[in-house]
Symmetry: C2
Subunit: 98 residues, 2 copies
Amino acid sequence: MAEPVVLINSFEVPAPDAENFITAWGKTRDYLESQPGYIETALHRAVTPGAEFLFVNIARWRTAQDFMTAIQSPGFAQAAAGLAGYQAHPALYGVVRT
Amino acid sequence: MAEPVVLINSFEVPAPDAENFITAWGKTRDYLESQPGYIETALHRAVTPGAEFLFVNIARWRTAQDFMTAIQSPGFAQAAAGLAGYQAHPALYGVVRT
């Protein structure tokens, strides 16, 4: 599978929580962008009414190991504490077709 | 919300069906890329073992209306028939933070 890897993380967020979620996501991003292997990230918000996942984060990391190391590093749990209340569906991906 | 819009469609696919799914996805892409407003697409396959969504399609369209028109057009249902057996979670998104 080609590097870099793509993290796709879909979040179930009630619409009234949207601004709180964005703030919490920003704190998590601030931490992760300081970690080795981080390339870029983009938070997507649904424009489809009633979407199952109001937010989807799509990030690029140099390797899967870099990402795993980052989320197991000291400091991550505290940085991401604000996201803990939202059901997340994360996995790492590679592009197979365009 | 800024244009273009991003379609994020997460698919639940059993691992043994992966090649069949990719073939069916390719037929759907062949149809959609001929439609007005299509910009690009990329099919992502999970590298995380046991991922809930084995495949995630991320596509860009000029506008939400272009995408809706394309999937309601004559020919779409037949082109996408091979995907009908897989649980999909589609929605349209815009980038709100990077």
